[in-house]
C-alpha cells in the first residue's frame, strides 16, 4: 500500500498531544501518538441559536455582521409598524436610536454604524441613514414602495424590486443613491416583490421573490439576477423558489435562508458561488419567513421573523473550524436555607449569603467555596429585605424589615462572627449596595418608612460605611429602592430598581452619580457581578430570566437562566464571565452559575469510514 508521503510528497507530523492550534491549521493532518489516531482541523457549516432580540418582530431589515449587526424597523405581532433599532455585538442585542418614523417591509443595508433604510409599508418613499447612534433623513426614493430589497452602503446604495399600489402590483424598479440623490436605473428583468439581495451598488445580487401572476401555486420565484452598476442580467435559478427570505454575502458568494417556499416556511439554506446555487446541509433550527439578514456567506444572522407568529429568536450561521460554546447558566448546589434579599457578595469560588427572607426572617449565614454551601455563625438579628455586600472573610449588612418594623441595625462580619456596628442614620429596607468588604461599602436608596414599598417613602440617599461610621455620599439621581450595583465604592455602577422595574443605570465616582446607558430590560431586585465598573453582568429580577453584559460602554443581552431568582443573592465581586445567583423570593434555594462563551478548534479524528 502506498504511504501518505508517497502519494502527497509530504510526511505527517506526529505529536504527543494535540499541538497548539489556530484556525489557519484547517485542513492540516497530524498523528496523535497518545491516542494512536490521525487528526485534522475541519470546518463545517451550521446554524445555532444566539441571543434573543429585545423585541419580537418581523419584516425588519438587517445590516452589518455577526459581530456588529443591526436590525432596523419591522412590525410586531399586532402588525404595528416599529421605529425600533437593535444592535448586535456578537453576544447580545441592545437598543439603538429610534427611526424617525416607523417602517416595515423596507429595503436597507450597510453596517452597524452606517446603514440606510428606504421605503417600506405602507408604500413609503422616505429614506433614512443611521450613524450607529441616531437616524437622519436623506432624500426620498423616487418610487414609493414596500417589500423590496437593498444592498450597498450609505453613499452607494442600491434598491430593487417593488410592491406598489395599482397594477401591476409587483415591479422591477431599481434606484441608486450616491450620497446625495436617488436616480432611476434599469429594472430587474423579472418584476417581483419580497426578494432578497446582497452585494454592492456595482455588483449586486437579487434572488427569489414573489409574483402572483405565475399560475398558482407556487407564486415564489427562483430567478437570480446580477447587477453590474448599469443593468441586471439573469443567471442560474435558486434550487428552491423562495420569497420573504433573507440573504447575505456578495455577488460571488452569498447565502439565501428561510422564507416562504410553498407550501410554507422553510429552514433551507442555499449557497451561491457566483455561478450556481446548491442546497446547504446546514438548516435553520426553525422554519420562518420575513426574517432579517446580515453578514456574509460564511457568517450570517437570521433576525426574528414569522414562525408563524412573530418571534425574537435569532440564529447565527457559521462556516468555521471553530467550535463556539455559547455562554450559559447551569444549576449549582442549592442553598441550605431558601430566601431572598440578604447580604451577598464575593466570587464564584468564595461567596457569602446572610439574612434575608420573608415571612420567617432569616439570620442564617452560608459560605460558598466553589463546590458547596456550608452554614456558619448566624447574624445577631434576623430580618428580611436586608442589604449588604462583602466576601466570606469580610462583609457588612444593614437595615431590613423585621416582622414588625423597619430596621436601622447594622452588623459586620469578620470571617467568623457577626458583630453589631453603628446603626444606619435612619431605618431603611431594600437598599442597593456596592463594595467588596465589610469596612468599605455603599448603600443606595431604599424605603425609609411606610407600610409598604412606595415611591412616597423611598429615598435618594447614598450612605458610605468606612468601617467605623456612616457618611453621606452624593445623592442618587432619583429616589429608588432595590437597585443593584457592582464595581467599587469609587467607581461603581448601579442599575434598575423599583417604582416599577426600570432600565436606568448610573455610575459613581466616589462623590457623585452620572446617568449611563439604559439596560435593555427593566429590572429590580436582580443580581449583579463585576469587580470593576468596566466589566459586569446584570441578571434576573422579578420573573425575568435574562442577563445583560456590561462592557464599560453599553449593555447587551446574554444567556438566560432556568429559574426565577427574584431578590436572589449574587457574587458582586465577579465579572461578566464569572457570575452566579442564588435564592428566590420568598424561600427559594436554587443556585445557578454562569459560564462565558468559549471558542475551540473543531479537531476531528480521521477514520477510514
Amino acid at each position: 500500500m502506498a504511504t501518505y508521503e508517497e502519494i502527497y510528497g509530504k510526511r505527517v507530523k506526529d505529536f504527543d498531544s494535540d499541538p497548539t492550534l489556530e484556525s489557519s491549521y484547517e485542513g492540516q493532518v497530524w498523528y496523535d501518538k497518545s491516542t494512536g489516531v490521525l487528526k485534522s482541523v475541519v470546518s463545517a457549516a451550521a446554524w445555532s441559536s444566539t441571543s434573543n432580540m429585545v423585541n419580537a418582530l418581523a419584516r425588519s431589515q438587517g445590516a452589518g455582521t455577526t459581530s456588529a449587526g443591526l436590525s432596523m424597523g419591522g412590525q410586531d405581532g399586532s402588525d404595528t409598524k416599529l421605529t425600533v433599532t437593535e444592535e448586535y455585538n456578537g453576544t447580545g442585542w441592545s437598543l439603538g436610536g429610534s427611526m424617525p418614523a416607523a417602517k416595515s417591509d423596507h429595503a436597507g443595508a450597510g453596517t452597524q454604524t452606517a446603514a440606510f433604510a428606504a421605503g417600506g409599508s405602507p408604500y413609503l418613499n422616505s429614506a433614512y441613514n443611521y450613524n450607529g447612534t441616531s437616524w437622519s433623513g436623506i432624500p426620498n426614493i423616487g418610487t414609493a414602495r414596500q417589500k423590496f430589497a437593498g444592498c450597498g452602503t450609505t453613499t452607494a446604495s442600491l434598491v430593487f424590486g417593488a410592491q406598489v399600489p395599482g397594477s401591476p402590483p409587483q415591479g422591477g424598479q431599481t434606484e441608486e443613491y450616491n450620497g446625495s440623490s436617488w436616480s432611476e436605473q434599469n429594472d430587474l428583468n423579472t418584476a417581483r416583490a419580497k426578494l432578497a439581495g446582497c452585494g454592492t451598488q456595482t455588483a449586486g445580487l437579487g434572488f427569489g421573490g414573489y409574483q402572483p401572476t405565475i399560475p398558482s401555486p407556487p407564486k415564489q420565484k427562483a430567478q437570480t439576477e446580477q447587477y453590474d452598476g448599469t443593468s441586471w442580467s439573469e443567471v442560474s435559478d435558486m434550487i428552491t423558489a423562495t420569497s420573504a427570505g433573507a440573504g447575505a454575502g456578495t455577488q460571488t458568494a452569498a447565502i439565501a435562508y428561510g422564507g416562504s417556499a410553498a407550501p410554507g416556511n422553510t429552514t433551507a439554506t442555499q449557497d451561491w458561488n457566483g455561478t450556481a446555487w446548491t442546497t446547504s446541509s446546514a438548516t435553520l433550527g426553525t422554519a420562518l419567513s420575513n426574517n432579517g439578514g446580515a453578514g456574509t456567506s460564511t457568517s450570517a444572522l437570521s433576525i426574528a421573523g414569522y414562525a408563524p407568529s412573530v418571534t425574537n429568536n435569532v440564529e447565527e450561521y457559521n462556516v468555521s473550524a471553530n467550535v463556539i460554546t455559547a455562554a450559559a447558566w447551569a444549576a449549582g448546589p442549592a442553598l441550605g436555607t431558601g430566601r431572598y434579599s440578604g447580604v451577598s457578595g464575593g466570587t464564584t469560588t468564595a461567596a457569602i449569603f446572610a439574612g434575608g427572607g420573608y415571612p420567617r426572617d432569616k439570620n442564617e449565614t452560608e459560605l460558598y467555596d466553589g463546590t458547596s454551601w456550608s452554614e456558619v455563625n448566624n447574624m445577631n438579628s434576623g430580618r428580611g429585605r436586608l442589604s449588604g455586600t462583602g466576601t466570606p472573610s469580610s462583609a457588612v449588612g444593614a437595615g431590613g424589615y423585621t416582622p414588625n418594623s423597619y430596621s436601622s441595625a447594622a452588623e459586620q462580619w469578620n470571617g467568623t462572627n457577626w458583630s453589631n456596628i453603628t446603626s444606619l442614620p435612619a431605618s431603611r429596607q431594600y437598599m442597593g449596595s456596592i463594595g467588596a468588604s465589610g469596612s468599605a461599602a455603599l448603600f443606595i436608596g431604599g424605603n425609609s418608612s411606610g407600610s409598604a414599598p412606595s415611591p412616597a417613602y423611598q429615598v435618594n440617599e447614598t450612605l458610605y460605611w468606612n468601617g467605623s461610621s456612616w457618611a453621606t455620599g452624593g445623592s442618587y439621581p432619583n429616589t429608588v429602592w432595590n437597585p443593584r450595583g457592582f464595581g467599587t465604592i469609587s467607581a461603581g455602577i448601579s442599575c434598575g430598581g423599583n417604582n416599577g422595574p426600570n432600565t436606568s443605570s448610573y455610575s459613581y465616582n466616589g462623590s457623585s452619580w452620572t446617568a449611563g446607558p439604559s439596560l435593555n430590560i427593566a429590572r429590580d431586585n436582580c443580581g449583579a457581578s463585576g469587580a470593576t465598573d468596566g466589566d459586569g453582568l446584570i441578571y434576573g429580577g422579578g420573573s425575568d430570566l435574562s442577563s445583560e453584559k456590561w462592557d464599560g460602554t453599553s449593555f447587551a443581552t446574554s444567556a438566560s437562566f432556568a429559574n426565577t431568582h427574584n431578590g436572589g443573592g449574587s457574587n458582586q465581586n465577579g465579572s461578566s464571565s464569572t457570575a452566579m445567583i442564588f435564592g428566590n423570593a420568598p424561600n427559594g434555594n436554587a443556585h445557578e452559575e454562569f459560564t462565558a462563551e468559549t471558542t475551540t478548534l473543531n479537531v476531528k479524528t480521521l477514520t477510514q469510514s
Binding site: 417589500k147 402572483p212 398558482s216 408563524p308
Partner: protein, 99 residues
C-alpha cells in the same frame, strides 16, 4: 423505533442549540416551542438539558395545531385588502405537520 422524539422548551437564545448540537443530531423547531430531535443519545440528552417536557408525536402535533390555528384565525380577521392575493407573503399561515 421512532426516528424522532419531541419536547416543549422555550428557546432562551444563545446556547439553546449550538453549532455542535446541529452537527451531532437532527434538530428542528416548530410552533408552540415544540422541538423534534433525533431519537438518539445526543438528542435525548439535549431535550433533558433544556428541561423540555417530552411529548408524544400526537401531543406535539396538537400543540402545533393550536398555535397555527390561532395564527390562521388572526389572519382571517384581517381586513380583506390585507388578504388580497396581490399582497406578497401576507398569506394565510399553512398547517404545519410533523414529519
Amino acid at each position: 423505533m421512532a426516528h424522532f422524539i419531541y419536547g416543549v422548551a422555550e428557546n432562551t437564545g444563545k446556547g439553546f442549540f449550538t453549532a455542535e448540537d446541529r452537527r451531532k443530531f437532527f434538530l428542528r423547531g416548530y410552533p408552540a416551542n415544540v422541538w423534534m430531535v433525533g431519537n438518539n443519545v445526543d438528542g435525548a440528552m439535549w431535550l433533558a438539558e433544556k428541561g423540555a417536557r417530552e411529548q408524544t408525536k400526537a401531543e406535539a402535533q396538537a400543540l402545533i395545531d393550536a398555535e397555527v390555528t390561532a395564527a390562521q384565525e388572526a389572519w382571517d380577521a384581517l381586513p380583506d385588502e390585507e388578504k388580497a392575493p396581490a399582497m406578497p407573503d401576507n398569506q394565510r399561515p399553512v398547517d404545519v405537520i410533523l414529519p
